[in-house]
Symmetry: C2
Subunit: 338 residues, 2 copies
Amino acid sequence: MPTNKQIHLDNRPQAEATAGNFKLVTTETPALKEGEVLVRHHFLSLDPYMRGRMNDAKSYAAPQPLGQVMQGGTVGEVVESRNPKYQPGDKVVGFGGWQEYSVVAGDQPGALKKVDTTHVPLSHYLGAVGMPGVTAWYGLVKIIEPEAGQTVVVSAASGAVGSALGALAKVRGCRAVGIAGGPEKCRYVTEELGFDACVDYKQHADAASLAKALKEACPDGIDGYFENVGGMVMNAVMLRMNAHGRIALCGMIAGYDGQPIPMAYPQLLLTNRIKLQGFIVSEHMEVWPQALQELGTLVGSGKLRPRESVAQGLESAPEAFLGMLKGRNFGKQLVKLV
Amino acid sequence: MPTNKQIHLDNRPQAEATAGNFKLVTTETPALKEGEVLVRHHFLSLDPYMRGRMNDAKSYAAPQPLGQVMQGGTVGEVVESRNPKYQPGDKVVGFGGWQEYSVVAGDQPGALKKVDTTHVPLSHYLGAVGMPGVTAWYGLVKIIEPEAGQTVVVSAASGAVGSALGALAKVRGCRAVGIAGGPEKCRYVTEELGFDACVDYKQHADAASLAKALKEACPDGIDGYFENVGGMVMNAVMLRMNAHGRIALCGMIAGYDGQPIPMAYPQLLLTNRIKLQGFIVSEHMEVWPQALQELGTLVGSGKLRPRESVAQGLESAPEAFLGMLKGRNFGKQLVKLV
């Protein structure tokens, strides 16, 4: 059996996560039992939600256990199978974690899914045509429910979720406005992703200043907001929300290290009769088929051209992950293993 | 024609509202034109939302104009009519404002409604069987949507909205828990209004301490929260909300004078996948008939025994109003004119 390198969570962050929280471990892949499949991972997915699970706190997901492989989405290829549904060479998406190989019970519902790479590159099943894409779809379609002509704003617009959100909003006839960090990301958001405008939050020291820039980018106000960030960015957007606006609350990365991120003006939720809804996409499996179909079509037709930041080799995963938490990635953050 | 005393808004509050913002004016009621009705007000309604309208700020309602009669709900008796639909002696509810008489165009939709005082005292049409009652109904039925056995919490529980909320929650099989200021109000909330428990927020200096008391009062957590107050009370409740909880945001009286009332832990909305919805009941006229019918039955059958704080005479309206903003009232705040 092949040697299998893994990244474990060794200890929990005190405040900011560091490389010292992780540990490289080398094992061997076990022999397959009846029904099992050995998958060689081509790409690992790195996602902001993983930071939350590193804490031992009550949240929507159980904490990542210490001394075990970091959990996460993976795409790869079946290299050995004792399950008649899978053949060596099959391309599959799963939840194999930060390691080179995984052994999967092929009959466990949802554990492994064969994917078609004719029109969609394998890695995109971890991004635009995977969990991040469906996350954008759910927040937009089920919470924001935009009408054509309305303005929809998303923070972290150049990332995996934000880029999908923009494409989904545009095909619904909305004005799509992004918020991103730095001129390069903003240029990508408008020029390559097709957003109508993008505001660089790094140019603004406080919510009032950012709100002023948003007023220019959103002359008719903001009807729907998809939140990935929280903190100052959220406060600024709230100052520009229209009556009966909707906020889909997906992430608050600004507070993942334990920083206070108070909402400055909650009274705006009242005076503007806003609906705010927190969600996690894994609780809404019923929408995945419909969402993935639309996302696959958008990518296949070139209407959604997601960008990827690809780190090389399993050992690079911790640094790539920590960089992503600081916004150093550009688009979907992956680790390439093969 | 009779002399008519009025209270005008003379100038806007700088921060806290004061008696100096109001002015007593004496006029005469004009002669009736065809279709008009002269109503003698028996009671004026004093409501927290009026404080918001005293500011010249963007909100869900237009500001109260300066130099004009303070707007507000009224109940009274028709004393003269040039409209065939109304006869002297008819008891009516309307929006006559802080004055002794009003002249109403009887055919204007929604301007005046005849009410039956056989089972429901006239004043209750300004409280439990009026706007505050429907407000509670909408937030509970349309936003919180509680299931039997769930726990519903309301702040300002002894007030007009809170008391109705408790009765409506109890008939739906919920555990109803109030938050109120002082032992006397808390005793009333449990003993007379039939709430299962009530927490005295004045016994707690911060959100953590109040949250601890709420844990005892809500052993299974909080599924629905009806917010009238904001600030520290809201922060405490959010610490005890269950996954998939719902918050109906009706008022934030803690911030009506311009005090900052940041929401300390917005990330809880995400981790607990909470839906929060701000609303104003006048935008949902379609529910009023159904809501008023249920509320009338609750009052008529004695299941809802709302308490009233009654100030005497028009001149007492400003002080009664300012006292209510500080929680000095006990139940629905009214001014009796007859």
